[in-house]
Symmetry: C2
Subunit: 204 residues, 2 copies
């Protein structure tokens, strides 16, 4: 239980998901911070510690390197309250998690990245930012519609779907330049995640 | 077992994954074909049959609509030989499946889409196509490195990871304009998938 090592990018929502999950589970792991421009990132890549070239990666301590934030959540979440016992609810949880990686992250997180990272600045044209704002609002609208009258994305309790989508949604205003005022159900849901026992913020 | 309905886009690798899985399992379902520009797609969207606005969606026949190709694979794959029994191999299978949706599809499938779909043609600039070719070759290289000396992506047998990545990889040459000659291990793996009992092609 103690020999896990997390390769984590401090600025990244994908890495934050895993840090949040570990905090909610009360699990301590060694963390190696790898950030754009840092020597630690170049070294981790060079030494083959990031199988897909990206953080986060969980080193299981026996030579196994598990990449992909949402796969790490599933691995850490087995036999915990964050994975529903019902097979259909598990599939619905995964639907949201694949949607997050295929649609949500490519718009909400990308807009934040274009606005934040110096190496992405050239792509941050007004047309591209406007296009991402429009697509992002449509994606946030899908979450809003679903959350109206519900506390959590799947079933009656918090699951990995909520944790994974919280990561880039909760910084959509501060980093991505989105306005969440038109999404009251979404805002209520963000507050419920932030109120979970053991919660840590992205900058903690 | 008989009242499943699949909303499937004939031209889409994501929909093909599900059709391939059903064929390998020998399961028959009703299929509603929805294609760009077809009335059936507009109707399915209007009637709320596509929760995230995209195909494929599996209608479970009891009012439940399950979107996201890879989540549908997991749902159909439970208790079959396509999901490993070992928890770590399950997580590794999901790593490849999230990587497919987050990285591979956004490059390999997008290049094919820019070259094939009339409504994407404006984005098919030489610079964008060149950039996607370079990124795509790097992604194919990750698969090649991993498959060297292995038959399947995870463990010793075929899993959902292979089916999901097969979909857009096997048309990378014909639709995406990639050259697979430098990737012999990948080509061997494509042949192994195509040799599975019950296999159907994307145009079947």
């Amino acid at each position: 239980m103690t020999d896990l090592t997390l390769y984590s990018m401090p600025s990244s929502g994908n890495s934050y998901k895993v840090r949040l999950m570990l905090a909610l589970l009360g699990r301590k792991v060694d963390t190696i911070d790898v950030e754009y421009g840092w020597e630690s990132l170049a070294r981790a890549k060079k030494e083959g510690r990031l199988p897909f070239g990206k953080a986060p990666v969980l080193d299981l301590g026996d030579g196994t390197l598990l990449p992909e934030s949402n796969a790490i959540l599933v691995w850490l979440g087995r036999d915990t309250r964050f994975v529903p016992s019902d097979a259909l609810e598990q599939a619905q949880m995964l639907s949201w998690m694949f949607w997050e990686q295929n649609q949500h992250e490519g718009v909400i997180a990308v807009r934040a990245a274009l606005l934040s990272y110096p190496h992405r600045k050239a792509q941050a044209t007004p047309a591209r930012l406007a296009e991402l704002l429009e697509s992002g609002n449509a994606l946030l609208g899908i979450m809003e519609d679903h959350l109206r009258g519900r506390d959590w994305l799947v079933g009656d309790s918090v699951s990995l779907a909520d944790l994974c989508l919280y990561a880039y949604t909760h910084t959509a205003e501060t980093r991505g330049g989105f306005d969440l005022a038109p999404f009251p159900a979404l805002r209520g849901w963000l507050e419920r995640v932030a109120g979970l026992d053991g919660y840590v913020g992205i900058d903690a």
